[in-house]
């Protein structure tokens, strides 16, 4: 996951919060917007797979990083031009079938033009009255004369999700279908079996003797697909980004169901900090409120305090290195915050 399992984690763990709690942290909102645009761009066209803009962002980071380099981090990218895009054609004629769940299969394929033209000749060589189909064979009961159905392909499809039945076996063919019913296969897939969606009908006589239904229920069986699905859906929606899908990520977002009450989504926060700074002889001893302060080599110092409402007496003492002289300065600071009710102006006023 978890992090982990999720970011989820570092950078984006906050996106969930942003949505809900964005009112408190403006910068966050901006970054998320920027990022989500980037995501959209990337997800919108996964099929065309635009050249990935990999090195860009990190390069910038490297330039800006001011910390000294660890020797091991220096790494020169060899000059050779890297390949920038994955191919869309590996030159094969193939179709492959995968199981997604008890009800859905996924198939992808690749067919070369010359192969298709050759096969088209078997149907007369003309596209007139011919369409591309995926023929789905259900071989659960029988391999010979197995029942099948056709999916007519549109456009330039390279893959398809196929509706299926639990605990059934299938293979598919991609091929050309003539309207007179003739079919030529361009490629045939592997065979797969979908998982069952419930308890097995098979019972082992050596392992009988208790109430299967009750055992199933006690094990949480009737919640399968219900609770586990709901829970995980919640997770995925809220968690956005956990690295692991299993459990972790979600929790904290579930844990903080922050709701934005303001209907208008406008917000305003303000806080105060106090900066106390000064200077003395570099070898003097300085205390503020009884705590020693570390001086910079030039004898200056800076302290920074969160400043809640209240009155604060900040007694500062500087003692000379020879211990003979002490100077005292005592700023007294008071913060008092008023929060008048929000003002709503009428909209038509400019």
């Amino acid at each position: 996951m978890p992090w982990f399992r999720g970011k989820k984690k570092a950078g984006n763990g906050n996106s969930a919060k942003n949505k809900k709690e964005g009112k408190e942290v403006p910068e966050k909102k901006e970054t998320v917007n920027k990022r989500s645009l980037a995501f959209k761009a990337a997800t919108r066209q996964p099929k065309s797979m635009p050249p990935s803009p990999p090195a860009k962002k990190p390069e910038k980071k490297a330039e800006e990083a001011s910390a000294p380099r660890v020797a091991t981090t220096q790494m020169e990218m060899p000059k050779r031009e890297p390949l920038s895009e994955l191919p869309w054609n590996y030159g094969d004629n193939q179709i492959y079938l995968m199981v997604r769940d008890p009800y859905w299969l996924f198939s992808y394929w690749e067919i070369q033009k010359d192969h298709q033209e050759k096969k088209l000749k078997e149907l007369g060589g003309s596209w007139d009255g011919v369409c591309s189909v995926v023929r789905v064979y259900d071989v659960t009961e029988q391999r010979r004369n197995a029942p099948f159905f056709d999916i007519v392909l549109q456009g330039n499809a390279h893959n398809w999700y196929v509706n299926a039945q639990p605990n059934h076996s299938y293979f598919v063919e991609i091929g050309l279908l003539h309207r007179d019913g003739r079919f030529v296969a361009l490629a045939r897939s592997n065979e797969i079996t979908t998982p069952r969606a419930g308890m097995s009908e098979v019972i082992d006589e050596q392992w009988m003797g208790i109430d299967f239904d009750k055992m199933y229920a006690l094990s949480g069986g009737f919640e399968v697909g219900k609770s586990s699905m709901e829970l995980k859906q919640l997770m995925e929606e809220r968690l956005r980004g956990a690295i692991s899908s299993g459990s972790g990520g979600v929790i904290s977002s579930l844990a903080s169901p922050v709701k934005i009450h303001k209907k208008r989504g406008f917000w305003f926060i303000l806080d105060c900090e106090l900066i106390v700074y000064g200077a003395t002889e570099p070898d003097a001893k300085v205390t503020v409120q009884g705590k020693e302060v570390k001086l910079r080599p030039d004898g200056t110092f800076t302290l920074r305090f969160a400043l809640p409402d209240g009155k604060y007496v900040i007694d500062a003492h500087a003692e000379s290195a020879d211990g003979i002289e002490e100077r005292v300065i005592i700023p007294i600071v008071q913060r008092h915050t008023e929060r008048p009710a929000p003002i709503f102006k009428s909209k038509d006023k400019k």
Binding site: P2, W3, F4, R5, K8, K9, N14, K17, K23, T31, F39, A42, T43, P46, M49, P58, E59, S66, V70, T72, T73, M75, E76, L83, L86, Y96, M98, R100, D101, W104, H158, P195, R196, A197, G198, M199, D204, L218, S219, G221, S228, L231, K232, Q233, A242, I243, S244, S245, S247, G248, G249, I251, S252, S253, L254, S256, I260, F305, A306, P308
Partner: protein, 527 residues
């Protein structure tokens, strides 16, 4: 004599994220945060239990990418740098919160936690935390199991047998090198099981794996004891199913413990809350605000007006929740024991990073739970799955159902409109890997190195994490980029080898960048 057995399984995993080519890389923080917030707190818990002679057994999977990162000198160095910055920040926070006693207490807590982490990491385990886990395994408290090489989701990458075998054998070899023994069990990535994968486990001597609940419940023939006893696959490898009740108690939206109002709020981090100029040295160098790990609030309730975190209250709750969890397991075991006529096995698997990273008090919860179970009751005993197989060597033979612990219970998270394009390429690379391994077998030197690197690039492209991230929709560009980068590297190696024009300089670069599995053996892909 106890009435039931409980197996806590913590799955620790992070994808291989290591970018020597950049001085700073945001995603490397995943590792650093997990070390500080989860792995080290767990190690501290194990140490405390040892010191107090508390008997317990717990199971943890440490995935090969995580082990590789924990053992990597560059990342170790960078972690210390990261930690030192955090300690510096915590130090400033102690001063800054002087007028806010509630915050001041929390700042002190962080300072203490971070300096302890540094001490443990640097001085006690000499930067390599795998030694800590090994120690507790060797002492007989921890059972470390393996995972597949790069957390590849096996039901979707199994186009060839070699693809599955490669992931498993490579993981097992790494495990033996690090822990000096063979792994008894495996965490199938995302609990992704398909009938037949157990044969590959059998071949490397693995005795058990874990599945989600329905993997067992929908097994055939019907499992007599439901999810409360393992089944043996036809290969003889045991499958243990997840118990839903104990899972939900820990991570359900409604009933879960981590949402308690006294626990720490994850989403209020000073990386976002404090003045920009002040926090700037501790966020991303490009100025992007990120989490620092210093968080001052408790969940408080369904409100925006969050209240300061009170550590003592949170610990109190963790103890209470541990007691509640234990009580529920006792009742569950008593009931099931009478119903089944034998001791039920309750398997409670979680992401390790849930404990500490997401649920900040999670390690304390575990600590209380283990101690209470050892001293406050006799109904339930903590065991590992291999302990169970010693207690009950005879179990029903049945074939689990294809399943995962992902959304909807199958493969949809890793096979959806957002990520289905990857399989066309992953599978082709798998086939070509075997082609290369067959064609160039027996060659030495640079060809052999190129073959091994090609296998590394393939493994890294197979990580289920990339597809997962694409599916969930956050950090997508990084996941897409990683998938393509490794596939393109693979392709290039393939073409260079087939055309007899290997570029050794470039190979050196790849080897130093993606340096996972130094003992990679491409021959795993021969068929």
């Amino acid at each position: 004599m106890e009435k039931g057995l409980l197996s806590l399984v913590l799955h620790a995993h992070l994808p291989f994220v290591r970018h020597p080519e950049h001085e700073y890389f945001l995603e490397e923080n995943w590792l650093y945060e997990a070390i500080t917030e989860t792995y080290i707190p767990l190690i501290h818990m194990f140490e405390g239990l040892l010191k107090d002679h508390v008997p317990y057994r717990i199971t943890m999977s440490l995935t090969p990418p995580l082990i590789s990162m924990l053992k990597d000198p560059l990342l170790q160095e960078r972690y210390i740098k990261h930690l030192d910055k955090l300690i510096e920040l915590a130090n400033k926070e102690i001063d800054r919160t002087r007028f806010q006693p509630a915050f001041h207490e929390v700042a002190l807590h962080y300072y203490w936690q971070l300096t302890q982490a540094r001490e443990t990491f640097v001085n006690r385990y000499f930067r390599d935390l795998t030694w800590a886990f090994k120690k507790f395994q060797d002492l007989g408290h921890l059972e470390i199991i393996t995972c597949s090489a790069t957390h590849g989701f096996l039901p979707l990458i199994n186009r060839t047998e070699a693809a599955v075998r490669g992931q498993i054998v490579t993981a097992v070899k790494q495990y033996e090198g690090v822990f000096g023994r063979k792994p008894l069990g495996i965490w199938l990535p995302e609990c992704g099981y398909f009938p037949g994968v157990d044969r590959f486990l059998k071949d490397v001597g693995i005795r058990y794996f874990l599945t989600d609940t329905h993997g067992i419940l929908h097994a055939s023939p019907r499992p007599k004891f439901g999810v409360y006893a393992p089944i043996y696959c036809p290969s003889g490898v045991a499958a243990f199913g997840r118990d839903m009740e104990s899972s939900k108690q820990v991570w359900s939206a409604v009933e879960g413990y981590p949402g308690d109002y006294d626990y720490r709020e994850f989403y209020r981090d000073i990386g976002f809350d404090l003045d920009y100029e002040y926090i700037r040295p501790y966020i991303s160098p490009d100025g992007l605000r990120i989490n620092t790990g210093i968080k001052y609030y408790r969940i408080t309730g369904d409100t925006d007006d969050k209240q300061p975190y009170v550590r003592a209250w949170a610990l109190e709750k963790a103890a209470y929740h541990a007691g509640n969890f234990m009580f529920n397991r006792e009742k569950q075991c008593e009931f099931l024991h009478d119903f089944m006529g034998r001791k039920p096995m309750i398997v409670a698997p979680y992401d390790a990073e849930l404990f500490g990273h997401w649920w900040y008090e999670g390690p304390e919860f575990l600590n209380f739970l283990i101690r209470k179970m050892a001293f406050d009751q006799k109904t339930v005993r903590l065991v590992t799955p291999s302990d169970y197989l010693r207690i009950y060597p005879v179990n029903q033979v049945s074939t689990p159902s294809m399943s995962s612990w992902g959304w909807k219970g199958y493969a949809e998270t890793w096979l959806s409109g957002a990520n289905d394009w990857i399989y066309f390429h992953l599978h082709k690379a798998t086939l070509r890997m075997t082609e290369l391994a067959n064609r160039f077998q027996g060659q030495n030197g640079v060809v052999q190195r190129a073959l091994n690197q090609a296998a590394r690039e393939l493994f890294l492209a197979q990580s289920s994490d990339w597809a997962f991230i694409m599916h969930t929709g956050t950090m997508v560009p990084y996941a897409v980029r990683r998938t393509k980068e490794h596939l393109l590297n693979f392709l290039r190696l393939y073409e260079d080898m087939m055309n007899n024009r290997l570029d050794e300089g470039w190979l050196n670069y790849l080897e130093s960048k993606s340096n996972i599995f130094p003992h990679m053996d491409y021959r795993l892909f021969q068929e």
